[in-house]
């Protein structure tokens, strides 16, 4: 077995190479920090078993963030393994800095120069570079199988030939004299000496040394001088700047950047949820009904009778419940399609730049944008990307805020309830819910920043990737992955949950089946009725609505499927489900648009699903997950109550009167705050000198 570790700077194509080598389909993107944990698999090449590990990107062998620590720890603990160092041909100078770090560590290195851009920005004499560095160099495109075969060959041969003598001539230019004060300094390896001069915490604690040498600048200076020398010898002049584009004059314009982003977001939402998405979703629902569900339902009725328990299970739990969620597949696919284009294009880094200073006001950074945007797709995977954050508090904060984003599992709820109660105004309701999630997240971030989770360092440094034309193969691979995951969730969690819920809602405590004519109370109904008074002030105190919310803790899609099942909907047709919500005898019904809106707000903000919960536990710990969950419930309850009260007031008194009352209330609050500030200033006896008064 040959062990290979893929190491390189962020966004150099490590995961692309990993996928090509192994045939896997791991997530890749044109953004720094897509990979946040190690991944490994084994593949065979010419009768050799090769175990390859893909690590998060690093700039240096001294880690500065959580995902970098994962990578460097792995390298230190496996320094006898073969390292394939991936470099981006367009950014060779910076990438070689890490290569030198790996060579200092004494590892076996093969350099794979990945020509990500089709038009390289400089010509490189690889033979000369190989000779100067003294290591094997393979160059090619990480996504091309044929070119990657040469790397496989080099990996196999490396094990046979072994031991290439690395050349690190710059070592003689490093001033090691500050280490003279140490006992046994001569016994230290070159790597240890350099790391001590760089004040690397891990090496210092391993050697039990407390002294600070503060020579990090000297080391970087010497190494970059050496890199500049070898680049000068084997590369011609750089033709253009990595990551610079004429497009940025418009997309990063101080005044146009934000409106352009918002416009793009509106177009994406419109296409996904309304025009194209709705058309495809309705079509799929119709096809499922005509081809699959109606014949299946007829067959079951003819075999088992209309009133049998099995017929009820198939019609309500499987056809109605699962079918209603399955018809949202095109919209989920479209949302992920647009998100993957966003990730692949390189625009994401520009969004991070645009939003960084706005987010800095609430204690977040531009890097949070990636996590929060990915939260629109799936909160579970988005929470993991919070590892990119430089400090612990920012990581916890970003992790806690991600579930407030409207993930793809929530929009079936918005579409079903919104369509039933708001008709053509549904677009405003859905957009409003998306915005509400963001606003609540921003407000909470501000509160966290001012109280317990103050960001220690506002250290936003982000490299701009070049714009890339959409790689259809990659985008469709990612799309297929998400479609597969959605169908798997339906086939596993949602089917299982629906069967459990069907059992609980169709059997009494004495385990007697409740047919449609029976008036007995089910197990779930009893449980729902106990909890329903808690939700009565929010306008949806029916046992069905409460049970659907509880079921939604497993996966948010279950809310729609359980509503369909409780209401006895026997088709994948969306309008049948929507009509059932308006009937007062249905298990889940809403008396007014106000109570439906309140339910939607609660669904948006309450606890995340079990999968996200478990990732949060792992990433931010038990204490903060528990605190976060309590906050989520309180915020959801309070927001739903406020929205319900406001909406009811509008229903009774009309929009104009409620708005005028709100305006007066806000005016009074602002005046009181202003007055308080003025009084505070006057009360200060040292108003001109104390520094606290901003006069």
């Amino acid at each position: 077995m040959i062990d290979v570790i893929l190491v390189g700077n962020p966004n150099t194509g490590k995961t692309t190479l990993y996928n090509t080598l192994t045939g896997k389909n791991e997530h890749v993107g044109n953004w720094h920090g897509v990979t946040v944990e190690e991944k490994f698999t084994t593949y065979s090449y010419q009768n050799h078993q090769i175990r390859v590990v893909d690590l998060p990107g690093i700039y240096h062998t001294t880690p500065l963030s959580f995902e970098e620590k994962v990578a460097t720890d792995y390298i230190y603990n496996n320094r006898d393994k073969l390292i394939v160092n991936i470099c981006d041909a367009s950014n060779l100078t910076r990438n070689l800095y890490l290569t030198l770090g790996l060579l200092e560590l004494g590892t076996n290195v093969i350099l794979f120069v990945n020509q990500i851009d089709k038009k390289p920005i400089r010509k490189v004499d690889y033979a000369k570079l190989e000779n100067l560095l003294g290591i094997k160099i393979i160059y090619g495109n990480a996504s091309h199988k044929k070119e990657v075969q040469r790397l496989n060959q080099a990996i196999v041969n490396f094990q046979v030939c072994d031991n290439v003598k690395y050349r690190l001539p710059y070592i003689k230019n490093i001033d090691f004299s500050p280490l003279k004060t140490l006992k046994n300094a001569e016994k230290l390896s070159i790597f240890q000496k350099i790391k001590l001069l760089e004040d690397d915490e891990m090496v210092k604690s391993n050697l039990n040394i407390q002294e600070n040498f503060d020579q990090v600048e000297q080391i970087a200076q010497v190494k970059y001088k050496y890199i500049d020398e070898i680049i000068g010898k084997c590369c011609d002049r750089q033709l253009r700047v990595y990551g610079k584009s004429k497009l940025d004059k418009i997309l990063l314009n101080r005044y146009l950047a934000l409106p352009i982003f918002l416009l793009l977001l509106c177009i994406v939402f419109y296409l996904t949820f309304f025009s194209l998405g709705k058309f495809l979703s309705d079509g799929l629902g119709f096809i499922f009904d005509k081809i699959l569900f109606s014949p299946l339902s007829n067959l079951v009725v003819s075999k088992f009778g209309a009133e049998s328990a099995f017929t009820s299970l198939v019609q309500e739990a499987l056809i109605g419940g699962v079918g209603s969620v399955l018809s949202f597949l095109p919209q989920v696919a479209l949302l992920f399609f647009f998100l993957s284009i966003l990730e692949d294009s390189g625009y994401l880094a520009r969004i991070a730049f645009t939003f960084d200073d706005i987010l800095s006001k609430v204690g977040l950074s531009g890097k949070s944008v990636y996590t929060l945007l990915m939260g629109f797709g799936c909160s579970t995977s988005a929470v993991m990307t919070a590892r990119n954050m430089e400090d612990k508090n920012s990581k916890i904060k970003t992790g806690l805020l991600t579930p407030y984003m409207s993930c793809s599992a929530k929009f079936p709820i918005y579409t079903v309830l919104g369509g039933a109660f708001f008709g053509a105004n549904n677009i405003i309701v859905i957009l409003g819910l998306y915005i509400l999630g963001v606003v609540i997240a921003v407000l909470l971030s501000y509160i966290f920043e001012k109280t317990s989770l103050k960001s220690k360092q506002q250290s936003f440094i982000l490299e701009f990737p070049p714009y890339r034309a959409m790689n259809l193969k990659r985008v469709f691979k990612l799309l297929w992955q998400n479609i597969k995951s959605f169908i798997t969730r339906i086939a596993s969690i949602i089917v299982a949950m629906n069967i459990v819920l069907w059992f609980l809602s169709h059997f009494t405590a004495k385990l007697e089946f409740i047919s449609s004519q029976s008036s007995s109370i089910s197990l779930l109904q009893t449980f729902g009725m106990i909890l329903s008074p808690i939700f009565a002030p929010l306008g949806f105190g029916s046992w069905g609505a409460v049970s659907a919310l509880l079921a939604g803790l497993v996966a948010k899609e279950v809310i729609v499927s359980s509503i369909a099942m409780f209401n006895g909907v026997e088709s994948a047709n969306l309008s049948a489900l929507q009509s059932s919500l308006l009937i007062s005898t249905s298990a889940v019904h809403f008396l007014s648009p106000a109570s439906a809106l309140s339910f939607l707000v609660f669904c948006l903000l309450y606890f995340p699903c079990v999968a996200t919960f478990s990732v949060l536990l792992r990433e931010i710990g038990f204490k903060w997950t528990l605190i976060g969950s309590c906050i989520e419930f309180m915020v959801a309850y309070l927001s739903a109550f406020v929205i319900y009260t406001l909406a009811r007031s509008i229903e009774y008194f009309g929009m104009a009167q409620v708005l005028s009352i709100l305006f007066v209330a806000i005016l009074i609050i602002v005046s009181l705050l202003f007055l308080r500030r003025r009084l505070k200033k006057k009360a200060c006896p040292y108003s001109d000198h104390c520094g606290k008064c901003k006069r």
């Binding site: 700039y59 500065l64 101080r254 950047a257 645009t354 960084d356 250290s459 440094i461």
Partner: protein, 75 residues
Amino acid sequence: MDKLSKIKMNKSYLLNGFTNSLPLKLKRRLLDLGFTRGEKVVFCNKSLLGKTYLVQIRGVMLSLRDQIVKGLILE
């Protein structure tokens, strides 16, 4: 750069070191990214509120928060 208002867009500056106010962690990351003495730094753009800068160094584009820019000694 003490006064950020002095920074002119699309003008190149020579990096002459770091101020003591810059935390070691950030200094280290900047050095990893090639912010070494004598290197040419070009400021290309700044964000809406002017707190984040887009800089060009060693043929690469990077965005930096103003607090980091304050920690650079530029000429």
